[in-house]
């Protein structure tokens, strides 16, 4: 593992539980990963696997009836390391980090923006609290930000309301808002799921440019393996609250060691392969998050399941370098794939 010199964020053994209806949902059940400066980490998995909760934990934006049970979230600031999990949720230290050091953009920009305030107001708001800029300067900066995100006629647009923007523009505006204070880390929670595929490509181009120009580390949450292939430097595959496989995108996509990763890759149709290509949907359903089975969570959907899978949760095993996996049978599968 390289020294912390190039690390932006380290998460170790994070467990976040959600308590509703007097039941406990172990949404994130022991998750560890690192985000490197200027690199993109993609967290990929089905709905409900806990990827959004992980992001919310880092930003301490969890809903009222949930909490971080265990683990460490360490933000490597310039002045030193900050243990985010020990900070008060809406205290001044956490608020100083949010928006300025770590920023987040959300899935549906229509609901994520306040409908009664102009886009300009909402961007200027974040500048008001993190920069010493005066009112006029804030306005100019807001216009500049919109322009740099590719929004035409920003002088006019800055005075308009969210519902007057198109879907893609709204997302750009939200990215503009998030990048306003040049954060070190940008967390993007399925930023294009609510948008057209063509807009999707534009947004991702935008994010790549930002990464290049500002050196922002990006944590991208998605359920789409195609996006991972396009954008990720590192990838972490999540299932039911655990990272079942992680590593560089080359390692994981070329030599997937976990059955779930392989199943995900096999279930994507590939343009150009023709209509007779092999697509396998993953059989079965995710278990009830409130009543999880013992052992590996993927057991009853896995074609390689053996007895021990049902009783014992696999440990995390390092395959090589950064590539790690949680599966009892990964060696045989690795050999199997190589053949």
């Amino acid at each position: 593992m390289t020294g912390t010199g190039d690390l932006a964020l380290t998460v170790k053994g994070l467990k976040t539980f959600m308590y509703t209806n007097n039941r406990c949902n172990r949404a994130v059940n022991g998750v560890s990963f690192e985000i490197h400066k200027g690199k993109t980490l993609c967290i990929v998995g089905e709905s409900g696997c806990g990827k959004s909760v992980t992001a919310s934990s880092i930003m301490q934006l969890l809903p009222r009836l949930s909490r971080i049970e265990e683990g460490e979230i360490v933000y490597h600031a310039e002045k030193g390391d900050i243990r985010i999990d020990t900070l008060e949720r809406n205290g001044s230290r956490m608020r100083a980090i949010r928006g300025e050091e770590i920023a987040m953009i959300f899935q549906d920009p229509m609901t994520a923006l306040n409908p009664v305030y102009t886009i300009g107001f909402q961007i200027m708001e974040i500048l008001m609290y993190h920069t010493p800029l005066g009112r006029l300067t804030r306005r100019t900066k807001a216009i500049d930000l919109l322009r740099s995100m590719g929004i035409p006629l920003p002088e006019r647009r800055v005075r308009e309301y969210p519902h007057q923007y198109s879907g893609g523009m709204r997302q750009r505006a939200m990215i503009a808002m998030a990048m306003a204070c040049n954060p070190k880390i940008l967390i993007a929670d399925e930023p294009t799921t609510a948008l057209d595929v063509t807009i999707q490509a534009q947004i991702f181009d935008l994010m790549t440019t930002l990464k290049r120009e500002h050196g922002t580390a990006i944590m991208l949450i998605t359920h789409d393996m195609g996006v991972v292939a396009e954008l990720a430097d590192d990838v972490a595959v999540m299932y039911m609250g655990n990272i079942v496989e992680a590593g560089s995108v080359d390692d994981v996509l070329r030599a997937p060691a976990h059955p779930y990763t392989r199943a995900l890759l096999e279930s994507i149709p590939v343009l150009g392969r023709g209509k007779n290509q092999d697509i396998h949907a993953i059989p079965g359903q995710t278990p009830n998050p409130y009543d999880r089975p013992g052992g590996c969570q993927f057991a009853d959907r896995c074609r390689f399941c053996i007895d021990i899978c049902k009783t014992e949760m696999p440990e995390e095993i390092v395959i090589s370098g950064d590539h790690r996996v949680m599966c009892w049978r990964h060696e045989e599968l690795g050999r199997d794939a190589a053949e």
Partner: protein, 320 residues
């Protein structure tokens, strides 16, 4: 914006016409000559029968219903509301004397209930689940369950009779001149009138605030690192305000209804009080005209509320 207002008013006109039609129908069906509604009753007895007949002709009383309706409607638009059966007073004069008193009471109650209700409801939402919230909720329930007139009676007993702090009724105490002298009389009726509405606003404001606070943009605001008070006030409360203001439109009919009873309890010389007297004495013309007036007030007020909403909510203003 102006087109929006214009459109809203335009929609109102057919409704108003239908209602005036129904009112005139009611007037027509009730016993009593239409003449006695148009002419001061004391003059009828003195009139020469021939002249009376000619008058009937000119008022179009021999003509079909629609024509009579039209003549009546035109008269109403010119301020000729007819005459009351008891005392032969011109109804428009009755209005002129009594409406200001009612407005005084109603507007005061409306303002108090909206402000106090919104604040209490917001506090309730922000302290959700704690004892403050529970107490406020129960108090709110009490507010909508206790009959207003009962509240008024108890208030009169305690503050008027036993403690003697406030006058027990009426709008003016003898010898009062300036506006400030009249305030003590206004205190009890307006407070009692506003109780039920405040309770209603409070509950609505609470749920509106809770709803606003659960929306996605609150999470976005928090992710920007801005302070909690700003999130609650500028993002939560501001968005929660819109439905509460809209609700003013719905509260108006209730307000007018409650007005009637409270005016009776406190002997407040308003139009509601007059209405009760008219019902008791079967004074059909007066009953009808007051009913008409109240409906039109409600309709006009709902237009005003729609305009207010457009001002507050940009989505409405710019046409979603």
């Amino acid at each position: 914006m102006l087109t929006y207002i214009f459109r809203r008013i335009l929609i109102l006109v057919p409704m108003a016409l239908v209602i005036t039609f129904l009112v005139y129908l009611g007037l027509d069906l009730t016993p009593g000559d239409a003449v006695s509604q148009m002419i001061p009753p004391d003059q009828i007895g003195n009139m020469d029968p021939a002249k009376l007949e000619a008058l009937r002709e000119s008022l179009g009383l021999g003509k079909p219903f629609i024509v009579r309706y039209w003549i009546w409607l035109v008269g109403v638009l010119h301020g000729q509301f007819g005459y009351s059966l008891s005392g032969g007073v011109s109804i428009s004069q009755v209005f002129a004397e009594r409406v200001p008193a009612t407005l005084e009471l109603a507007v005061t109650a409306l303002v108090i209930s909206t402000i106090v209700g919104s604040i209490l409801g917001t506090i309730s939402a922000l302290t959700r689940g704690t004892r403050t919230d529970h107490v406020l909720t129960v108090v709110g329930m009490l507010g909508v369950s206790i009959p207003e007139f009962f509240f008024g009676l108890v208030a009169i007993l305690i503050f008027g009779l036993k403690l003697g702090w406030l006058p027990v009724g009426g709008r003016l105490t003898p010898g009062a001149e300036s506006f400030w002298d009249q305030v003590p009389n206004l205190v009890m009726p307006s407070l009692v009138l506003s109780i039920m509405m405040t309770a209603g606003v409070m509950r609505y404001a609470r749920s509106s605030m809770l709803d606003a606070l659960s929306r996605d943009f609150i999470r976005t605001a928090r992710s920007k690192g801005i302070p909690e008070w700003r999130i609650n006030l500028l993002h939560g409360f501001r968005v929660a305000l819109t439905p509460v203001v809209v609700l003013i439109g719905f509260r108006l009919p209730l307000l007018m209804g409650s007005n009637v009873i409270i005016e009776q309890v406190f002997q407040w010389p308003g139009i509601g009080n007059e209405f009760i007297a008219a019902v008791r004495s079967q004074d059909y013309p007066l009953v009808m005209m007051i009913a008409l007036f109240s409906v039109l007030t409600v309709l006009v007020a709902s237009v005003i509320v729609d305009v207010l909403t457009a001002v507050i909510d940009p989505r409405v203003r710019l046409g979603e």
